[in-house]
């Protein structure tokens, strides 16, 4: 079921919400069980047969987790560690089969010239997320950080519908105390007001902004996939349109997940914090898909040695972490290249900081320097997104060649008439004027300009809602930008949110488009 669909908003959500709080008056356990059952239903709406796979994965991991806890309790840490290895292997094998088996066989066929086939394997929705969530749980259990002996609570932690399909990737320790709190089971109007507001801001981002700009990027990347050479403006417009689409899509999803959870009195961790405002690539990864970054750092980069074994090893660890992080997104070499590019960016970033430190240079904090750093980081991210979006390496190269200006510059024909002498001058200097199916002209530029203005100049949802604990462990900025844009439960804000929600729901009807992160 999609958050941005009528069955969810008008059916599933109100029923789940009302019955949850009705049951909670009587018995907290029954309410928690109800939330778990409805989460399974929410998942099964897409494909009922994969509910069994999800349930199987939960039962196996729960038993491994309790086994680890018992072994630790019996002072048998080596056995606990062996059980942890078994648990991680089980999860990775499940993920490998459903997500990477075809990829592996295809590459093997290519490498050794065979024609093996294993048939089509449908990727179960959210498997990457619930697998990582459970690996984190097992690792935390092995470190004695969590204790869980209640299957219903554990199943609720994994399946809790606001995060099940596309995250955030949760830690058991940050969720279960909230489900144990008595006040979670008491309907509170402040949670409802804050939750609805965050949810509808997210819906607006998804249906109006992300889905609105989506066709502009799709046409460019489809043309690239067909091998069509792209002029410079077309290629840049397509790459920027995708950059913005992905931003609003994922940002919208994260807001909706946080808002939904807040309705039930549970705060989710922040997962998205204006990443395009980042001033370097490390900063970007502290803002983009924050819970995945946290997972990769805690369960991959640090166990590999992190930065504890010298500069060279640190860079190697960074590269390995980012390559695997790229592969996590999908079984395609383009994702590996994307991860590799970010790995290189991070290595360069760390090397640059190390060099500055060695030379004794201080960090520049001038406004111009920060803006330049922000733009440089943004451009590096845009280039990497081309690999993330393209269906093949060749298609990505087509877009990048276009962005580099190899195919020249083309502009819409009607601009020539409007620009008079400037247009003639451009023609003399090699600019071609003709109508292109991959460049929509002024409407597209308006989308891009408006999108970048929102991304760079306005506060994000958490900043707007900062007075009301919008996310777990969220700390408001001491001097917020645009202080007048801070939410209050006033009539004026209610009227504004009615308009935002109305357009969010209106554009929802233009086709229930899946969130991009659902495919991972």
């Amino acid at each position: 079921m999609l958050f941005n669909s009528y069955p969810f908003i008008l059916g599933f959500l109100p029923v789940t919400f009302l019955v949850f709080f009705a049951l909670a008056r009587w018995n907290h356990r029954a309410a928690a069980a109800w939330l778990m059952l409805t989460s399974f239903f929410f998942y099964g709406w897409w494909s009922p047969k994969y509910v069994l796979l999800l349930a199987f994965s939960i039962v196996v991991n729960f038993n491994i987790g309790t086994g680890i806890q018992r072994l630790l309790g019996a002072c048998r840490p080596r056995h606990a560690k062996a059980m942890l290895v078994f648990g991680i292997a089980f999860n990775l094998l499940l993920l490998a089969y459903y997500k990477y088996a075809n990829f592996f066989v295809d590459n093997l066929n290519y490498a050794i010239g065979t024609r093996w086939e294993i048939g089509e394997i449908i990727l179960p929705l959210g498997i990457s997320f619930y697998t990582f969530t459970q690996i984190a749980y097992l690792a935390d259990a092995a470190q004695g950080k969590v204790r869980e002996y209640n299957l219903i609570h554990y199943a609720l932690f994994v399946t809790y519908f606001p995060h099940l399909i596309a995250g955030p990737i949760l830690h058991h320790a940050e969720m279960m105390p909230q489900f144990d709190r008595a006040e979670t089971y008491r309907m509170q109007w402040d949670n409802i007001a804050v939750g609805l507001t965050i949810f509808f801001i997210g819906l607006f981002k998804k249906t109006v902004l992300a889905d609105g700009i989506a066709p502009h990027s799709t046409s460019v990347f489809d043309a690239a996939a067909a091998g069509t050479a792209l002029p410079m403006l077309d290629a840049w417009a397509g790459a920027l349109a995708y950059t913005l689409r992905l931003y609003f899509d994922f940002s919208g999803y994260c807001d909706m997940a946080i808002g939904l959870s807040r309705l039930f009195g549970v705060n989710l961790p922040l997962n998205f914090n204006s990443p395009y405002k980042a001033e370097n690539i490390s900063d970007f990864w502290r803002r983009w898909h924050m819970t995945l970054s946290r997972f990769l750092r805690d369960y991959l980069y640090i166990p590999l040695g992190g930065n504890r074994r010298g500069g060279g090893r640190r860079y190697l660890n960074l590269m390995v972490t980012m390559l695997l992080g790229g592969l996590w997104h999908g079984a395609n070499w383009t994702f590996v290249v994307w991860g590799g590019l970010h790995g290189i960016y991070l290595v360069i970033n760390h090397a640059w900081h190390a060099l500055r430190h060695r030379l004794g240079w201080k960090n520049a904090h001038s406004r111009g320097g920060r803006i330049a750093a922000q733009i440089l980081t943004f451009l590096a991210v845009v280039v990497a997104w081309v690999f993330f979006r393209a269906t093949s390496f060749d298609a990505a190269l087509v877009v990048l060649k276009g962005m580099a200006g190899i195919n020249g510059i083309e502009m819409p024909l009607k601009w020539l008439a409007g620009w008079g002498a400037v247009g003639e001058w451009l023609v003399q200097h090699g600019v071609r004027f003709r109508d292109s199916p991959t460049f929509a002209g002024a409407p597209l530029l308006t989308w891009v300009a408006a999108g970048l203005a929102i991304v760079w100049l306005t506060p994000n949802t958490q900043q707007i809602m900062e007075r009301f604990d919008p996310a777990l462990d969220y700390r408001p900025e001491p001097r917020p930008a645009m202080p007048w844009l801070r939410w209050q439960p006033t009539a004026r804000w209610a009227a504004a949110m009615v308009i935002v929600a109305y357009f969010g729901m209106l554009y929802m009807s233009s086709g229930f488009n899946e969130f991009i992160y659902f495919q991972f």
Partner: protein, 412 residues
């Protein structure tokens, strides 16, 4: 902060959204720009509808499922324009419902899936399937059927598209504004618009551009070649798995299926000779007829294939000089002609004494060669009498179609 403040805010938010959505839904329901509901039609308010063509593939499946017509017309824009669903043979003399479910621009794959949808969702007893004579492969319809079965109510009631087209509908209530579809789904296209040649140019530009086989030389030599008998002993693969599937599905059911190969105006028919495609048409008709004879469905189901192509009236109606009676352009025929075709297919027109020479020919493998000869003779006689036909055609096709260096030797 006081709980009551949050309660007021939350209630106001939910009620405000619900109210706005409700008003939007009522507005779009009343205007009904896509003819999804069919009523009310209020003169001066929403009686003239011209927006269905923007939402045809979403609305028509829903209407056909809701209305449960006894007769359904399937095909591309040619069937959508040319076949009147209110024809007495389809409505059972006005006693039953009928719907034109043909979709503009639909290729065979889409028509096949539309038929699957009709068979799965209605109890249609008479089905007219318009098509170009070509292979009829079976295609996977899972995605198409899912799309056609989607609940479109939210889009029709509360979407920007619905609001936009409702407003346009309100603004276009001038009686001179064209209605684009009848309530029964027939596409009115450019009815009463005299720009026939322009539309033909657009059509040929879209369909012939890039076809290297289309040359004026080929057209010139086609008359000599057409005196040779039709060769039917070809062994090339010809996929009729889709037809086989359809026959299995209707077998034993009270369904009369009429497959009709689209006829063309003489200028449109000559375009096939220009591109060397005329023989393919005959070979396809032969293979389809042969397959039907070898695999008839179990009664009471009946299947017939029909061809109406001719070179005399009404296929030679002059294209210039205003509104035509039988044709929209060289490809799309009007219901005046479509009704005659339906008469013939459903037995309302007396059968010709010689099946190979009458208006309408029920295609069968034994007589297809005779019909081919008859049409070749008719064509030769027509072109001798109307040498300007090729000039008209060459004026309408895109300029890159290869011209002969010398004047066309007409009628030789």
């Amino acid at each position: 902060m006081n709980e009551a403040v949050f309660a007021r805010y939350s209630s106001g938010l939910v009620i405000g959204i619900a109210l706005l959505l409700f008003v939007t839904a009522v507005f779009n329901r009343l205007v009904d720009p896509f003819q999804y509901f069919g009523s009310p039609r209020i003169a001066g308010f929403n009686a003239v509808k011209s927006r269905l063509r923007f939402f045809e593939r979403e609305v028509k499946p829903a209407v056909v499922k809701r209305e449960q017509p006894e007769a359904v017309i399937l095909g591309s824009s040619i069937a959508a324009i040319g076949f009147e669903p209110l024809h007495p043979a389809l409505t059972h003399e006005g006693r039953g419902k009928s719907y034109n479910f043909a979709l503009a621009g639909a290729p065979w794959e889409e028509v096949f899936c539309a038929l699957q949808y009709v068979l799965a969702n209605t109890d249609a007893k008479r089905i007219v399937l318009g098509m170009i004579a070509q292979p009829m492969p079976e295609v996977g319809c899972g995605h198409s059927l899912a799309k056609m079965s989607e609940n479109r109510l939210p889009e029709v009631l509360v979407s920007p598209l619905a609001i936009q087209h409702s407003l346009k509908t309100l603004r276009s209530q001038d009686p001179r504004e064209p209605q684009t579809h009848t309530a029964e789904g027939r596409y009115l296209f450019f009815r009463d618009d005299p720009q026939v040649e322009h539309r033909a140019q657009v059509f040929f530009a879209e369909n012939l551009r890039g076809k290297r086989t289309c040359t004026e030389d080929r057209l010139r030599h086609s008359l000599d070649e057409s005196s040779a008998p039709l060769k039917l002993d070809f062994t090339a693969p010809f996929d009729l798995s889709g037809l086989e599937r359809i026959l299995e599905q209707i077998s034993g059911l009270p369904i009369a299926l009429r497959i009709v190969f689209y006829p063309r105006h003489v200028v449109g028919a000559e375009a096939e000779y220009l591109c060397g495609e005329q023989e393919l048409r005959w070979l396809a008709m032969y293979r389809i007829a042969q397959f039907l004879e070898q695999h008839p469905p179990a009664p009471p189901a009946t299947v017939q294939a029909w061809d109406f192509q001719g070179y005399g009236p009404p296929f030679d109606e002059p294209l210039g000089g205003g509104v035509l009676t039988y044709w929209q352009d060289p490809i799309h025929f009007n219901p005046v002609l479509g009704n005659r075709m339906l008469d013939a297919m459903f037995g309302l027109e007396p059968e010709a004494s010689d099946p190979a020479t009458g208006f309408g020919y029920r295609v069968d493998s034994a007589t297809v060669a005779a019909r081919y000869r008859w049409l070749a003779n008719q064509r030769r006689a027509f072109l001798q009498a109307h040498p300007e036909t090729w000039d008209t055609l060459m004026r309408l096709v895109p300029p890159e179609v290869q011209r002969s260096p010398s004047p066309v030797a007409r009628g030789s």
